[in-house]
């Protein structure tokens, strides 16, 4: 019989094995999701995990909810159908950088533009893992991979830029090594009504090991990332003495407190709820070495959602139309009665 007890992590753990490589970033993400779900106050049977194809997309098999392992790149469309058909469901889309940005790029931007209330966890390891090491749309330019033996000659996508460009209402970035932050951000993603994109900087231990280490490594992380919290100043660094300001050219600039007369009060204060996406866009696209990489909830703004508006239109038409069933429809309009 289905539970009536308070859900715990254990309720979301499957019996079978989780078949990712030992050391894969997927394990900590899975664990953070299982920790977050008991706290979102949704009945377990109303939760659905949907995925595309790739290492990350095996996720639905590893979590004890309803699940649908879809087609390569098409998870966003599959999830859109589910949420539009039944807005009551809590729909989570698991995808990777290849699945979401390459073969599924079209569905990705259209999901965001429609603002359907789906939580997208984008595992970004900047490589094709399941096909064993080809460059992906987020692989840095010049990288040598199996299909770019002389270095890639393509500019990578930044998921944050794409999200803002597609009029996204929620974008966050987290690191697979930070379970507490992940859990909190996943809960925030759930709370946000609309499409939530959470980019997870994930390690691929086999084909792209330590890909994010130069930013997220223990020794450098404090200086090379900035954790953004709504209402708080944009401050970072081991010494907590660096921060972000807007300079006269309306560009972000890293400053040091105490130098050139800069004080803490000069730093920007993060407003994740600002409908104007310009600053969020700049924050989302910050990359090392010029800037710290922004983590945390970068943008979270209210807007109407597709599935709610669709439901409202249906209810309005049902209430106001004379046509209540198929027989009414058949007899509507130009009917010739021949006697």
């Amino acid at each position: 019989m289905e539970n009536t007890h308070k859900l715990t992590k254990k309720d979301f753990v499957v019996d079978g094995p989780v078949k990712w490589c030992a050391g894969c970033g997927g394990f900590s993400i899975l664990s953070a999701v299982q920790n977050a779900l008991p706290e979102i106050n949704v009945p377990i049977e109303d939760i659905v995990f949907v995925s595309g194809i790739g290492c990350s997309s095996r996720f639905p098999y590893y979590i004890e909810t309803y699940g649908f392992h879809g087609l390569h790149g098409r998870a966003a469309a599959l999830a859109s159908g589910m949420k539009s058909a039944n807005p009551k469901l809590s729909v989570w889309q698991i995808t990777g950088d290849g699945d979401a940005m390459a073969i599924g790029g079209n569905h990705f931007i259209h999901l965001i533009r429609r603002n359907i209330d789906i939580n997208v966890l984008l595992f970004n390891n900047k490589i094709y893992g399941l096909t064993k090491g080809q460059y992906s749309p987020t692989t840095p330019k010049g990288s040598v991979t199996k299909t770019s033996p002389h270095g890639t000659i393509e500019n990578p996508f930044n998921p944050g830029e794409l999200t803002m460009g597609a009029q996204g209402t929620f974008f966050a970035r987290v690191i697979d090594k930070e379970p507490k932050v992940m859990k909190e951000v996943f809960i925030e993603a759930h709370k946000h009504k609309g499409t939530s994109i959470v980019e997870i900087l994930q390690n691929c231990v086999i084909f792209n090991n330590d890909v994010h280490e130069q930013v997220t490594g223990k020794e450098v992380k404090d200086d090379r990332t900035i954790y953004l919290e709504h209402g708080k100043q944009m401050i970072f660094g081991k010494e907590r003495n660096k921060g972000l300001v807007l300079n006269k050219g309306y560009n972000l600039e890293v400053v040091t407190i105490g130098e050139n007369g800069i004080t803490e009060d000069d730093l920007l204060v993060h407003n994740a709820y600002d409908p104007n996406p310009n600053l969020h866009y700049m924050l989302g696209r910050m990359t090392y070495p010029d800037f710290p990489v922004a983590v945390g909830v970068i943008r979270s703004v209210k807007d109407t959602t597709y599935e709610v508006m669709l439901e409202e239109q249906v209810e309005h038409e049902k209430a106001n139309s004379k046509i209540k069933n198929m027989t009414d429809l058949l007899n509507s309009g130009n009917v010739h009665v021949i006697e």
Binding site: M1, E2, P60, E64, L71, L78, S84, I323, K324, L330
Partner: protein, 618 residues
Amino acid sequence: MSKNGKVIEREDVVVKFAGDSGDGMQLTGNQFSDASASLGNDLSTFPDFPSEIRAPQGTVAGVSGFQVRIGHKDVETPGDLADVLVALNPAALKSNLKWVKPGATIIIDIDNFDNKHYKKAGYVDDPLGDDSLQGYNLIKAPITGLSRATVRELNLGIDNKTADKTRNQFVMGLLFWLFNRDIEDGKEFILNKFGKKPHLAEANIAVLYGGYNYAETIEALSTTFQINPVKNRKGKFRQITGNVATAWGLIAGAEKAGKELFLGSYPITPATEILQELSNRKDLGVKTFQAEDEIAGVMTAIGASFTGKLAATSTSGPGLALKSEALGLAGITELPLVVVNVQRGGPSTGLPTKPEQSDLMQALYGRNGESPIPVIAASTPGNCFHYAFEASRLAIEHMTPIILLTDGYLANGTELWKLPDMNEMPEIKTPLVKDNDPDYQPYRRDPEKLNRFWAVPGQKGLRHRIGGLEKSDIYGEVSHDPYNHEKMVNLRQEKVDRIANYIPEQTVYGNKEGGELLVVGWGGTYGALHSAVKEMRENGSDISLAQFNYIYPLPKNTGEIFSKYKKIVVCEINNGQFSTYLRSQLPDYKYEQYNKIQGLPFYIAELKNKFQEILEDK
């Protein structure tokens, strides 16, 4: 107004309207058809338009046509050749003259027959100056000039460009005279259409009367037609296109299954009206999702099916190609899904606005892996309703994707359709699972039909995971086990094969006990094939027809029927796809073929010629 001329009673008459694609020929055709329907005539219509929205005016490429056949007996096709052609410009005349009967009445807008228009139409010589129109009853009506003059006299401040849009009402007035119709009926149509713009209504009505009065005045139209109402036909009827009938059939399926309908689709000619019609039916709980592409169209539908909706996607050939991978997914996850494919001329973009039956092989086989999906086909505009309903029934009751094939000819053509009684339609039994059913497993099957069961998110105690990877029998875990894969492939095949136990047997029109020649067709060619066979039977030929709606699996008695005839000829608007299929399914019979691949439907005359040849070649 009285008539002094001769009135000829006819069984049926074919009228073709042709003009520039902005001239309102489709509207005029529909108006004439509707007026005929209200008088109790049977009818069949077929629009014939270019894929360009407004190709250059006055050119052959820009000609838009609408053919209607009205009759006082059953009308099964829009007719081969026209008895009356309305040609608003030389290009319309040039491109349609070959589809006109000898002695036909041809009404032209003489105001457009000048050197400028001849040049645009590609005429070297004045067609009115040579003998190319000899033998026709040619009416040179100053349609543009008289329409403009009529509008001008009303002093409504309407410019010439707008006044030209009333020309179709002049034509209508002419035809109302020609067919002995009550002009008041035409007036009513205009009032309904232009009710909110009284000055346009007034102008159009004035021009309608202008056309009528002109016809009465000139001697050339002294002979008029009378088509009497169909006898012994009672009930409620409406004109319906195949696309609207398909949309309604899906709604009816949802109603009888107690489900809401969800359509995920992307606009594509000639299937778009299905999406349009359903997007306007939110009052019946229908949700439509206009997706970013064909793939998202079908994927959203699969997602909706997973959540327990009657899900459908509508498309045409190129779109079906894009959906292939997703159809495999619907097949392996064994979810109900109705795929409507409105066939058009292919390959590639092909002939977007022209009908063809060339997607049969794609529907049957166009997927990776062993991926059987049942295929059915509608055969008249009206029965698209029935087969969309059937597709819904089979998809849900057997937990399978299914492809419904229609075509551009059915989709845009209309017939006078007798309204079905919803109380007489069967319930669709959904293979649902009760919450917390301890025996539920994702791939546990019904022992008879072999369908799995439909447990949907939101239900307690039934959480499970499905997907495109092969799954273990019964338990539905990811499995690469070789014997399990073979078993699952066979189970999915057997499930589809057993659908043959749940569809009607094939029927034969003609000599059911067997005979000389069996004509075999499928889908949208029914009207032409049935008319040809009927006419030949009335002249004593030993010929019968088996028109297939259930393609895969075939009705169980198909072989038995084939065994009773000396000869079988398979007729298709393609290069022989159904005959190839029949040879693979029922190899014991010899199949002759008759194929036409011109983006045009069959004509009755050409069919009769072919059948006569086969019968005489003993």
